[in-house]
């Protein structure tokens, strides 16, 4: 029997097929903290730092969202520039000489953290605690300085505190709540609700200056707004200002025990997209569902069913 040519197996590939060749991206060389670095054109200073293993703190930055450079925690010193540059959005330019831990940088980072900590409840923002320690930020410094001035003016000093955004939590639906006492105005939720993920546009920044805040139109409750309860805003919130109602209730009852939770990745059963779900289980009950940021399918986003539709699993009998 002659082998017809079309029966012959192709030689086994020696490796995964390569992408078709694309124009080689020109690379940019610069100096960061005395080290020569190379990065593809278009990379940000933050990209270059992370590739080089240099730690730059971030708060309003997230890989899946457009940088808004609003928090200013990631500022770095670029030689020859009048002011500091936000590493998250500033593109690396050829020949830049960058310092990520100069006294100027550290001072600005410290002040930004102190300003936030003096005006916002950061009790559910665990990533900020080591950051505050690293930059020796003292959250009470402003209150002390302001109070000292007043107490010197009169002996019967009233107890003064500096202005903050503390306010009652908004609980207006069964799926998630909003505690804007904890909001650092990083704009992540607005971006996730808008053009970076969901295209629902239920919330936006409103007001101005220290009174700026995230709001629905005319501050209406969520059920009256355009919200579709995908919860993608919860997923990106860095401070726990936005939280699933389930988690909030457990925390209020003192029954939220992260150390007693197990975490399992699985696939959402609801539709054919196949989103990766990370199921958080405590005491044999699902208490939270998230999705990994690095999942190619979801980029951390889910829909209302995937994120909140787990109660039926917990029902027994």
């Amino acid at each position: 029997m002659n082998d017809a040519i079309w029966f012959r197996l192709p030689p086994a590939p020696s490796s995964v097929p390569h992408r078709p060749p694309t124009a080689e991206a020109p690379s940019v060389s610069a100096t960061i903290d005395g080290r020569a670095v190379e990065a593809p054109a278009g990379a940000t200073i933050l990209d270059a730092c992370r590739d080089a293993g240099i730690d730059v703190p971030t708060l309003c930055y997230l890989e899946t969202l457009t940088p808004v450079n609003a928090c200013r925690v990631c500022v770095v010193e670029v030689e020859g520039a009048r002011v500091l540059a936000p590493a998250c959005s500033r593109k690396l330019e050829p020949g830049m000489v960058i310092r990520t831990r100069s006294p100027r940088v550290d001072l600005s980072r410290k002040l930004v953290l102190e300003l936030l900590a003096s005006s916002v409840d950061l009790s559910t923002a665990p990533t900020l605690v080591p950051m505050m320690r690293e930059y020796q930020a003292d959250p009470g410094r402003f209150a002390k300085a302001v109070g000292s001035g007043l107490s010197s003016a009169s002996s019967a000093a009233p107890s003064v505190s500096v202005a903050s955004v503390l306010q009652p939590a908004k609980v207006d639906n069964d799926l998630y709540m909003r505690d804007y006492s904890k909001c650092v105005l990083c704009y992540k939720c607005v971006e996730a609700c808008g053009t970076d993920a969901q295209h629902t546009f239920a919330i936006a920044a409103a007001g101005r200056g220290f009174d700026a805040h995230i709001s629905t139109e005319f501050d209406v409750v969520l059920p009256e707004s355009a919200c579709v309860y995908c919860g993608n805003c919860i997923a990106v919130c860095p401070t726990g200002a936005l939280m699933a109602k389930h988690e909030y209730d457990l925390r209020q009852a003192g029954e939220w025990k992260p150390e007693a939770q197990s975490v399992t990745d699985t696939t959402c059963p609801y539709c054919g997209v196949g989103c990766t779900l990370t199921v958080h289980v405590q005491d044999q009950r699902i208490v939270k569902v998230t999705s990994p940021l690095e999942s190619e399918v979801t980029h951390g986003n889910l829909c209302v069913k995937g994120r909140f539709g787990f109660e039926y699993v917990n029902k027994t009998g």
């Binding site: 808004v68 450079n69 609003a70 928090c71 200013r72 925690v73 500022v75 002011v83 500091l84 959005s89 593109k91 100027r104 001072l107 600005s108 410290k110 002040l111 930004v112 300003l115 936030l116 003096s118 005006s119 410094r141 402003f142 002390k144 300085a145 302001v146 000292s148 001035g149 007043l150 107490s151 010197s152 003016a153 500096v162 202005a163 306010q167 650092v184 105005l185 629902t200 546009f201 239920a202 919330i203 936006a204 920044a205 409103a206 007001g207 101005r208 200056g209 220290f210 009174d211 700026a212 805040h213 709001s215 629905t216 139109e217 005319f218 501050d219 209406v220 009256e224 707004s225 355009a226």
Partner: protein
């Protein structure tokens, strides 16, 4: 865009106001009457709909002018018409302090209580008004803004009252001594400025409908005025009159020498921007001209809101055709067919005069297609600001034109590459542009003979405060501060000068030892000061600087856009720290600890000031602590003795 709109329909008046601006709605999708047969099987959307977002602020103005505030129903209708999500529209609506979100009286007085007017009794005026009209409406007042968190700006007193008032930041009438912007909503809306606003009765009468004849203002010069050559002489409403004074010769000359020729002359003139940043104008124009991306835009920044500044207002009110002609030259030189002039909402007269100048120029073929037979097209559109100092920052201004919140963008990319609508844009201040007329006519090198080598030409200075003849003065660069004060008649009553605020709230104080400071870019820089927008506000030896500093801190707290942490929280903390900074420095026996704690307040302020300068996104945060810092350095508020740690 699939909009989710709930809660309310517009009233007939609101709908009519929006339709007068946008035309009638085409279908039920845009808020018109529903017609299933017609609308049922069509798709509404695409760029033709979403591309109209830039009309959001004009639509809000239209409704506010008609009914006095923007209701939820009106906002919903505007959202349908322009395909803007309501939450985003709300974000824009609450950004501008001239826009109200709850019903309020039709007639409202916005009374200036800013630094210049305070020196002439603005606080007393506000107290008198409060006695006559009750507490101020909230929304425009820095003090009242504290309690609006979470709810947006709500009206204070009842809407059933026929008139109300609110405090306002600087109205740009500092040469009048006191001022109020009067707005009356209705089918025939009125907006005018009462300056001087002599007393509470005058304001109440103006609210009730009385009109006051415009007061004459002082305009002066050392040498031959160039920018102010026509001011007060030319009829601002007449193109013929403008031509009699040499108008439109510069445009003819510009067409003759061509775009390259114009840019060569502007470059040779070494003209630096007069808005505050002092960037070389020729370089800016050249960069925009070279951009391959199209279209290019010209933006004239007439959002003059720096406390103490009124130079651009005078130019626009007295010589509007000059502004339009200069913008046209800029458009031809940079390859732009469309220009925007963004005029602050507090300048109704300037807006009206520029508007009629544009219309008349268009009529005469000096705007539109084939200008003066050149084959080139250029036209100008007016945009009215909504009461936001930050929109004077060019990238915030672009966002405002685009119908977004006036939040500054990160630079780079710079406007020459990515400006309004993401396209190459040349943004120039009014005074900068008007200089171009003489540059084109005389040639850049000849023009540059006025002034000093580094600071060419003349400069407009706005003199106010404790000065005999407050007003706008044009002098060649190089005059000293002392000469300027003498030109304006000196300090009344023969009193001495305690300090001079140079460059406005974003500038800084200089002491009497700096009176021989040469008023040039380089001279100011050498003295650690800035010319900024040309403000010279004089404080005599009896002045209470603490009060002004407090108002400046309040101003920045009120005007910060709220985007970045150092400015949003920093301007609030600066305001709170101020009393601690001015704690008595001469310690009596018992207050030794307070002196050291005030020193610690000073050190906290010092660090805050550095961080705001270094880490804020834009110039507002970067300069917000400058005036207070300069006052501390000059010992104008007693600096605590460095003690303790």
């Amino acid at each position: 865009m699939d909009l989710h709109i709930t809660g309310g329909e517009p009233t007939e008046d609101e709908r009519a106001a929006v339709d007068a601006l946008l035309g009638p709605p085409e279908s039920g999708w845009e808020g018109g009457a529903r017609n299933i047969a017609q609308d049922g099987r069509t798709a509404a959307g695409g760029h033709s709909v979403t591309g109209e977002r830039h009309l959001l602020l004009p639509a809000f103005h239209a409704v506010q002018d008609r009914v006095g505030s923007v209701s939820r129903g009106a906002m919903n209708y505007i959202c349908r018409r322009l395909s803007v999500p309501p939450a985003e529209a709300w974000g824009v609506l609450t950004f501008y302090h001239l826009l109200a979100t709850a019903p309020r009286p039709a007639a409202v007085a916005h009374v200036c209580d800013d630094i210049a007017c305070r020196l002439h009794g603005a606080e007393q005026l506000c107290r008198d008004l409060e006695a006559r009209l009750g507490p101020p409406l909230t929304g425009g007042s820095p003090a009242a803004a504290h309690d609006t968190h979470g709810g947006g700006a709500r009206a204070g007193s009842s809407a059933s009252a026929s008139m109300g008032w609110q405090r306002s930041p600087c109205l740009g009438q500092c040469d009048a001594g006191s001022a109020a912007l009067i707005t009356r909503a209705g089918a025939m809306p009125e907006r005018f400025v009462l300056a001087p606003a002599a007393d509470a009765s005058a304001i109440v009468e103006a609210l009730a409908g009385a009109t006051a004849p415009p007061a004459s203002r002082t305009v002066g010069a050392i040498g031959t005025p160039r920018l102010l050559a026509r001011a007060g002489k030319v009829n601002p409403a007449s193109l013929d009159s403008y031509r009699e004074y040499g108008g439109y010769r510069a445009l003819a000359r510009a067409i003759e020498i061509g775009a390259e020729g114009v840019i060569a002359e502007v470059t040779a003139s070494k003209l630096l921007g007069r808005g505050g940043a002092a960037f070389p104008t020729g370089r800016k124009w050249d960069a925009v001209r070279r951009q391959p991306a199209t279209p290019h835009y010209v933006v004239c920044n007439a959002d003059e809101s720096e406390p103490g500044t009124f130079k651009d207002r005078v130019l626009m009110e007295q010589d509007p055709f000059a502004v339009v002609e200069a913008m046209t030259i800029c458009g031809l030189a940079t390859g732009a067919a469309q220009g925007f002039i963004y005029i602050r909402g507090e300048y109704p007269l300037a807006e009206a005069r520029i508007g009629s100048a544009i219309a008349e120029a268009r009529e005469a073929g000096l705007l539109g297609a084939d200008i003066m037979g050149s084959g080139q097209t250029f036209d100008v559109e007016i945009r009215r600001g909504g009461g936001a100092y930050i929109c004077g920052e060019e990238t915030a201004l672009f966002n405002s034109i685009e119908g977004k919140r006036g939040e500054p963008r990160s630079k780079p990319p710079f406007p020459a590459e990515v400006g309004v609508f993401g396209k190459p844009t040349v943004a120039n201040n009014v005074e900068t542009l008007v200089n171009v007329l003489d540059i084109v006519l005389e040639g850049g090198e000849a023009w540059a003979r006025t002034g000093t080598t580094a600071s060419t030409g003349t400069r407009l200075f706005c003199l106010s405060g404790h000065i005999a003849r407050p007003g706008l003065y044009e002098v060649p660069f190089g005059a000293t501060l002392r000469e300027m004060i003498e030109l304006a008649g000196g300090v009344p009553g023969g009193r001495g000068v305690k300090a001079v605020l140079l460059g406005g709230a974003a500038g800084g104080f200089v002491g009497p030892e700096h009176l021989d400071l040469s008023l040039t870019f380089e001279g100011a820089r050498a003295a650690g000061a800035t010319l900024g927008s040309g403000v010279i506000m004089v404080y005599d030896e009896t002045a209470d600087l603490g009060d002004s500093l407090h108002r400046i801190a309040e101003f920045f707290r009120h005007e910060s856009c709220g985007q970045c942490v150092p400015c949003r929280v920093g301007t609030q903390r600066q305001l709170e720290l101020l009393p601690a900074l001015s704690a008595p420095s001469a310690p009596s026996a018992s207050s030794a600890p307070s002196a050291s704690s005030a020193a610690s307040a000073a050190s906290v302020f010092g660090e805050l000031s550095v961080a705001m300068k270094d880490a804020s996104i834009c110039g507002l945060g970067q300069t917000a602590s400058g005036a207070i810092e300069s006052a501390l350095n000059l010992g104008l508020i007693e600096r605590p003795v460095k003690g303790g740690e």
